[in-house]
């Protein structure tokens, strides 16, 4: 497909030397319709075929965007390093003891608690970097359906962060299982019955599912919440700080609520703190016995909050000036 646009100046300016763009003196064929004196047609018709745009186009565009900036590589790289590195160190530490006292796959939790910050950061940056640089005006001009832009961003980011986190959590779970599996449970272990077979600690299928798919879903949803918060606040630092507050504040506040009168509130904050949701998926809930609860309920709760935040982001994005 050739375009009639040429880098050569038209011929009706003979006094000035003809110079193509200085960076690339590429000689292009002269466009005959630029010769002086040709009466202008009333409208211009492009040789490029016209197709109506749809979500698929927006998805392709957002995929190009997310893979072509360095922050994506950095945040995902650091996430892998934290999740697998800390997972490995935890496994090494636990392997030095003769007995296994904790749920088999729970060693993956500590790395992921830090690694989730990377996913949250990426979620925020996916949207706020566009507002910060002014790219959003170009984006919204190319695709005036603002809801479509936001939806494409959400889908692409969620898909990428879920896949990457799933790989990281699965590798970590395999490391825990390989290094700690088949060892005897401690005498005073509080592990649930089904996790101990013939005196050896194993991970049940539901434990495997929760520690891999469950944990990855949880972190990707948290990232999606961060994206929604970013779309509402339009400011990288503000949105990242807000998300850190959401993740850490409930536990911090609960720490200072030691009075008897606040006991209910304290328990509520601990139970519904985002970190507890992740810990429960690894069978290490902050409240109650180890191995109690499965964390899927809290995951559902996070999903509801995320959907609500996304709805807010959609409404605001439609209403506000870009």
């Amino acid at each position: 497909m050739s375009s009639p646009i040429s880098s050569q100046p038209p011929q009706q300016a003979p006094a000035a030397p003809t110079h193509p763009a200085p960076q690339a003196p590429a000689a292009q064929p002269q466009a005959p319709q630029w010769q002086g004196g040709v009466p202008a047609p009333t409208t211009y018709t492009s040789p490029i075929p016209i197709r109506s745009t749809h979500l698929g186009h927006a998805l392709a565009s957002e995929w190009t965007k997310i893979r072509s900036v360095r922050s994506t590589m950095w945040t995902l790289g650091v996430m892998f390093l934290l999740v697998i590195g800390i997972g490995l160190m935890t496994a090494v530490g636990l392997a030095s003891s003769e007995y296994t006292q904790v749920p088999l796959l729970s060693g993956g939790l500590f790395g992921l608690m830090l690694g989730q910050i990377c996913i949250v950061t990426l979620g925020v940056l996916v949207i706020t970097s566009e507002y910060g640089t002014g790219m959003i005006r170009t984006t919204m001009t190319a695709c005036p359906a603002r809801g479509r832009v936001l939806a494409a961003k959400a889908v692409v980011f969620f898909g990428l962060s879920f896949t990457m986190t799933l790989i990281a959590t699965t590798l970590t779970a395999l490391i825990q299982s390989a290094m700690l599996g088949g060892r005897p449970a401690g005498e005073f272990s509080s592990l649930p019955q089904e996790s101990i077979v013939n005196g050896e600690v194993i991970a049940t299928n539901s434990e495997w599912l929760a520690a891999t798919v469950g944990a990855a879903l949880y972190v990707a949803l948290l990232g999606l919440l961060a994206l929604a918060v970013g779309a509402m606040l339009r400011h990288s630092a503000g949105a990242i700080t807000t998300m850190l507050g959401v993740i850490l504040l409930p536990l911090l506040l609960a720490l200072f609520m030691q009075m008897e009168s606040l006991r209910d509130l304290q328990e509520f904050l601990v139970e519904y703190s985002p970190l507890n949701g992740l810990a429960t998926l690894y069978q290490l809930p902050f409240m109650g016995e180890e191995g109690s609860g499965n964390g899927w309920g809290l995951l559902g709760g996070l999903a509801v909050v995320t959907v609500a935040a996304l709805a807010g982001a959609f409404a605001l994005t439609h209403k506000r000036d870009v």
Partner: protein
């Protein structure tokens, strides 16, 4: 054809764009002129559906921007050179735009070539100079080979060669029958590119006329005379019924008499002339007079500013002329 009707944008108390009504016609370059802060960019953002108007409407061939199913193939816009992610390469920046409108990847290389950025296609936009940023922005506008093009201050930051290139690009695009709408705060720049002129100041429409009309109505031509025998020269001119105005420094200015006739008169009366020159008031002066009252940010300096006291008067004359 882009039609604006009563377009208004208010930010709280401040009115950025005030009841603008005009049309941008196809096949010509329409210049959109106004001092800094006149509301040009706000108007263009509303045309592209980025900002919601407080009142009024913009229609592009009868439709709102958001209703266009393939926007880049319909309208290409350069809003500001830095409206891109600095960490992305020029190629990827254009690629994500192309993909969002289903434009083939091959077109990205074509426009990079058109604006002369092929050599730096893989470089991050962060390292680009303002001029290169403008070129990349223009490449984005040309991506869909659209029939309508909008450029907001495209020559900003360009070197003379780049300015020359932009001028010819715009003329060429209009000659192909496209609608070209370009904003600027430089009258001299517009005089070279635009066929039609829309002038705004403080968000209000000040002029909407062809460039030729604007030049005809706003460029006063006169003859400047300087002579050691000024008294005699005045008498001679007076006797011929020619009005001469003293302009200081021993010069006289004469309106509406050809320079040849004045020269012949002086020769016939054996008058010594030190200067006999045709003069033309610049369009820049006309533009400054037109917008003087609406300039938002005045600079104060000791040197004498261009005379703007006659604004009211000249503007009245000008509107009378317009009505005729």
């Amino acid at each position: 054809m882009i039609e604006l009707e009563g377009l208004t944008k208010r930010y709280g108390e401040k009115v950025a764009v005030n009841d603008l009504t005009f049309a941008v016609r196809p096949g010509i370059v329409t210049g959109f002129l106004g001092p800094n802060g006149a509301g040009k960019s706000t108007t263009m953002r509303m045309m592209l559906g980025l900002d919601n108007p407080t009142a009024g409407d913009v229609r592009i061939d009868g439709r709102h921007y958001a209703q266009i199913k393939h926007p880049l193939k319909y309208i290409g816009a350069l809003l500001d050179a830095k409206a891109m992610h600095g960490g992305r390469s020029a190629y990827n920046h254009l690629l994500c735009l192309a993909q969002s409108n289903g434009i083939p990847d091959s077109r990205v290389r074509e426009v990079l070539d058109t604006v002369g950025l092929t050599a730096v296609a893989k470089k991050k936009a962060k390292g680009f100079s303002l001029g290169m940023g403008q070129r990349l922005g223009i490449a984005g506008a040309l991506l869909g080979d659209p029939q309508i093009l909008m450029f907001d201050e495209p020559v900003n930051g360009l070197d003379p060669e780049g300015i020359h290139w932009i001028r010819n690009l715009m003329k060429g695009l209009a000659a192909q029958g496209r609608t070209v709408f370009v904003s600027s705060h430089l009258m001299s720049e517009m005089a070279l590119t635009a066929d039609h002129l829309v002038v705004i100041g403080q968000g209000r429409l000040l002029a909407d006329m062809s460039m030729a009309d604007f030049i005809r109505q706003n460029s006063r031509s006169y003859v400047r005379l300087r002579s050691p025998q000024q008294e005699r020269l005045r008498d001679v001119l007076h006797a011929e019924g020619i009005t001469a105005v003293e302009a200081g420094n021993g010069t006289l200015e004469v309106d509406g008499t050809p320079v040849e006739r004045l020269g012949e008169l002086a020769a016939r009366h054996s008058l010594v002339l030190h200067e006999l020159s045709p003069q033309q008031a610049s369009l820049e002066e006309a533009f400054m007079q037109l917008t003087a009252e609406s300039v938002e940010y005045h600079a104060h300096s000791d040197t004498r500013a261009p005379d703007t006291s006659g604004w009211q008067q000249s503007n009245q004359q000008w509107s009378q002329k317009r009505e005729q």
